[in-house]
């Protein structure tokens, strides 16, 4: 049965539709715009929409982490990259033939269609019982018990990434 538009369920459904629209529009801008800085803006919009979807999926913690890490850190790193290297894609796009654009659209549409059809046709099994409710407390408990090894390994990976990026960016600086 459908909730009416002005009931709480209907309003939350409207908010959900708005978030989906922001996500898809952001992805379109990120893929299709000619200037890189605009496509980065589209990516940020897409990430914010996805954070809202995570909220609807019952985990505000992951939604906040999405905003913090993707919008706050990764987008800023990419923005610095764009400002440092100043690529001008508008000149390049005219050099490339129109065929590659069409082919990329076909490839992307084929992948998305295949995944969506596979997801819609599958017969998903609902679990008989849930052993916890997925709250922040439960996430913290399993991060520090069941997944503590992976947790430590991820911190080592991040440390190596920091050291590696420092070492890579430093090469060639002393000569100048």
């Amino acid at each position: 049965m459908n909730p009416t538009l002005l009931s709480p369920e209907g309003l939350s459904g409207l908010v959900f539709l708005g978030l989906v629209a922001v996500t898809i529009a952001g992805a379109v801008i990120a893929t299709a715009s000619k200037r890189l800085i605009r496509s980065l803006t589209g990516l940020v919009a897409c990430f914010m929409g996805v954070a809202g979807l995570y909220y609807f999926l019952g985990s505000p913690f992951v939604a906040m982490m999405q905003l913090l890490i993707y919008v706050g850190a990764i987008a800023i790193v990419i923005a610095f990259g764009i400002m440092l290297a100043e690529p001008d894609e508008s000149k390049l796009a005219t050099k490339k033939s129109g065929l590659s654009g069409v082919l990329s659209l076909v490839a992307g549409a084929a992948v998305a269609w295949g995944l969506a059809v596979a997801a819609l046709r599958a017969d998903w099994m609902r679990p008989a019982v849930k052993i916890n409710d997925g709250s922040v407390r439960d996430v913290g408990m399993s991060l520090l018990t069941t997944y503590s090894m992976v947790f430590e390994l991820v911190s080592v990976v991040l440390l190596v990434a920091i050291l590696g990026s420092l070492a890579l960016a430093r090469i060639g600086r002393d000569k100048e």
């Binding site: 459904g13 979807l53 490839a107 997801a119």
Partner: protein, 106 residues
Amino acid sequence: MLNLSAQLNTYLVIGAILFGFGVCGLIRRPTLIGMMIAAELILCGASINFMAFNHFLAPDPTVGQIMTLFIMAIAAAEAAIAMSILICIYRDYKSIELENLEELSG
């Protein structure tokens, strides 16, 4: 239309659409930064799938959240490394356009 948020299929289709946009961007972008933006879209589509299965199907609904957090950590590491490689390439070639990087094309 208004109770779409309570269905698993909605999220799976959104994830598939984001993945498709990512693949499309990865092919058609002529610069490395554009390809990185497309790769982030692909990772985001994968994370949405993890979170959807976590909410609707997993008996232990922390697994998908933890997986998504790990994907975010790996994506952050990837962005940092890719950006420093990009700065190195820019220093050597004075551009990050893929046409000028043909020494690696074998």
